[in-house]
Amino acid sequence: MTEVSDLDRVEPALAELRGGDHRGSVRATTLNLVGFCEAEAHVERAQDAITRIGGSRPLRAIVLLPGEGHPKVAVSSSCWAAADSEVCSEQVLISASRNALPSAVVPLLISDLPVFLWWQGAVDMDDEVLVELVELSDRLIVDSDHAGIDAVEKITLLPRALSDLAWGRTAPWREAVAGMFDTAGPLESLGHLVGVEVAGPKAQASLIAGWLRSRLHRQVGLDHTDRSVLHRVSLNCGSSGSFTVERDGRLSVGTAEGPGLPAHPVVLRHDQIAGLVGGEIYRMGVDHVYEQALAAAHEEP
């Protein structure tokens, strides 16, 4: 990254990076992505993910790291081949006192483009920096696998659309589970669902249980076994038997099976952080299914 002396120098420095490329670059920015990193350890991961995301959606990213004293600013540009030209995404890294960070973001946002706030840190409704950055944003992206599902549930009070990377990790599993109930026999069994066994991270297990409760409007017990990644989801449909999706070892495929349902392969991809955040920046509105699942996550029978 190229260090610049202060915030006023960011735009000229970015323009220089674009103009300095003699192969000719196209500026086709589609969004602003603000990445807040509570600790320095998060910065490299965030920058790497943002660079990858920029490879599919040209963006301006502003990475924020709480620090001390006068803001330290650095800029970079990453370019990809596109048609007979290339397209570039921009990154600005700002380290400044925590309370000053929102004021540093405002002048750097590209006007009239959506703003996504990817928050990596503790989630607290009383955190004024979080609240101020949310006010600048159209969507807040958190991760209840790290922040905890209780804390994430509280911030649903903030008036912004919310994305949860833990929910995103359950997406292929929800697809696979839903896919078992597209035909009459299994669908009837779903009416007898009493509980779900989940082997995986706690937050994801709670969200899957909440999803089943909110979609089916019934009480569903959760039997959770802790694993670092989702490995198995089994729906206990009482006398109708169990419907199970299970990962094949550590692979991105698995098997789904149940009564009256031949075992069949399912795709259970492991999305990396860039894929998860990248998936959320295609969404604009409220994800009602997620918010209902989150609200129902604690409704243990």
Partner: protein
């Protein structure tokens, strides 16, 4: 209730993002060992599987004359996918996918083979839980379509326990009469809603983007009419020759190969009225209405060409009549330019110029909407002497995107206006992997969504538009044009006589 309508409400499907197919189904490819199957169909179905878009209970049954068992077909399919898939082979995914592949060896004109195929499909239903739902894909030369469809009816394959859909590749006949004959044959065992006529052009993301561009934006639609649009140019240019398709091309020619299907379909999307919804019938109704308003092609308003020798992309190429399997005295047209008119309120008086051909200067498909000049230019004559009309170009391939040309003041002490282009590159805003057209269309056929498929009335009307020209071109000689050019000189005269000129794409 017909099986197609018996879609169950699965409450767990709400809010899922993938939009994959849900109903179990067995997908049969007739001609499974053929070129199209190897290059397009098998890779497309594999990629749908990798993307998690196939139904959870799905089986693929290959049908062809080649003698092979299931394992042999799995090896064949894997080799085809490894060679032609846009994504690399996932060795972890492959075993599960391969377990869904089956093969049935048989001829296209043998009742016993078709009855045996029915038995195979019943066995597949039991093994894979596909519940008697069937999609049949006719990936064979069109001369086999009537034979296969009749045999399917005789073997009761049109009447399975679940839904049935039949996908037919173009050409849908070779003229109006044969299209109607084919429809009569196909309509004996199948209803129109069960027939999916595939034109892969409509599966291209950038062709579908024409819908989005026209009907998701308010700023263009008010000027999308004869009041503001001077004329429209549609170009479908290929730099390749007839390659290995000479025999087919000799019987077909450019009008049947490109104009009757791809080009008229694109034109219909550009010129149709807004549909009431993005559903199959409202869209196809509007497309057909547009085609009905189009005058049939006229000899006087068309130019035919045939490529001669020349250079394309630096390589010397031979003339069409020296291609293998092409007679030296062939009068087959490899190029057409034509002036089309649409007799409706929106487009009356605004001509649509089309051109399509092989061995042209470069491969490009685009729609250029040329707007009228301002009624009065309040500038000194010198200031705007190089100002061109506004134009909006929808580039379909390659470098998919949209380009808007408008006038801007050049930096100079005096007022000088020049034309500048503002480009939007589709691939710049959405750099992610774009699915192949066949992935989109096969998934739609499995889901029963006919939006991107052609309906019989549209097919017939397209032939009504093209047949007069095809008839008149049976005799006579095409203008020879130099390979690597933009067609014969008369193509330029065709548009120049109206005081206009072709764009250089």
């Amino acid at each position: 209730m017909p099986p197609e309508a018996a879609v169950l409400e699965n409450p767990l499907r709400t809010g899922l993002r993938q939009g994959g197919a849900t109903q179990p189904c067995a997908f049969t490819i007739f001609g499974a060992t053929g070129d199209l199957s190897q290059r397009k169909l098998l890779p497309a179905i594999y990629n749908l599987g990798v993307r998690g878009l196939l139904p959870p209970r799905f089986a693929l049954v290959g049908y062809a004359r080649t003698d092979m068992d299931d394992d042999g077909f799995r090896r064949f399919a894997k080799a085809a996918i490894e060679t032609h898939s846009r994504t690399p082979m996932d060795e972890h995914f492959w075993p599960a996918f391969a377990s869904r592949l089956h093969y049935h060896s048989g001829g296209f004109d043998d009742d016993d083979d078709f009855h045996a195929l029915g038995d195979t499909l019943t066995r597949v239903d039991d093994e894979q839980g596909t519940e008697g739902n069937r999609v049949f894909y006719l990936s064979t030369p069109s001369s086999f379509f009537p034979v296969i469809v009749r045999r399917m009816g005789a073997a009761n394959l049109n009447n399975p326990p679940g839904f049935v859909r039949v996908v037919i590749e173009k050409p849908f006949g070779h003229d109006l009469e044969s299209a109607r004959e084919l429809a009569e044959i196909v309509h004996l065992p199948f209803q129109e809603r069960q027939i999916f006529r595939i034109d892969h052009y409509l599966g291209k993301e950038t062709v579908q983007n024409i819908f989005a561009f026209r009907f998701a934006n308010t700023i263009f639609e008010p000027i999308w009419n004869n009041r503001f649009v001077d004329h429209v140019q549609i170009t479908v240019a290929e730099s390749i020759g007839v390659e290995h398709r000479a025999k087919f091309y000799e019987e077909t020619g450019v009008v049947r190969d490109i104009v009757q299907n791809h080009l008229l379909q694109v034109l219909a999307l550009v010129a149709m009225e807004p549909p009431s919804s993005f559903d199959a019938d409202p869209i196809r109704d509007e497309k057909t209405k547009l085609l009905r308003a189009m005058r049939p092609m006229r000899f006087e308003d068309a130019v035919r060409g045939q490529y001669g020798a020349g250079y394309v992309a630096g390589d010397e190429v031979r003339p069409y009549t020296s291609e293998p399997q092409v007679p030296a005295d062939s009068n087959t047209a490899t190029f057409v330019a034509a002036r089309l008119e649409i007799d409706n309120w929106r487009w009356a008086g605004t001509p649509f110029y089309i051109r399509a051909g092989k061995r042209l200067a470069k491969r490009v498909t685009e729609v250029a909407v040329q707007f009228r000049r301002p009624p009065h230019l309040p500038f000194h004559r010198d200031a705007a002497e190089h100002l061109e009309e506004n134009s909006l170009v929808l580039r379909i391939q390659p470098n998919e995107g949209i380009s808007l040309r408008f006038g801007a003041k050049a930096p100079a002490p005096t007022l000088t206006i020049r034309s500048v282009n503002m480009d939007f590159l589709y691939g710049s805003a959405f750099l992610s992997d774009v699915p192949e057209a066949y992935e989109t269309l096969i998934l739609d056929a499995i889901r029963g969504d006919g939006t991107l498929f052609t309906r019989q009335d549209g097919v017939e009307r397209s032939w009504e538009i093209c047949d007069p020209l095809i008839d008149q071109w049976r005799t006579g000689t095409p203008q020879v044009y130099e390979a690597g050019s933009w067609g014969p000189e008369m193509a330029h005269e065709l548009i120049n006589r109206d005081g206009r000129r072709w764009r250089r794409p």
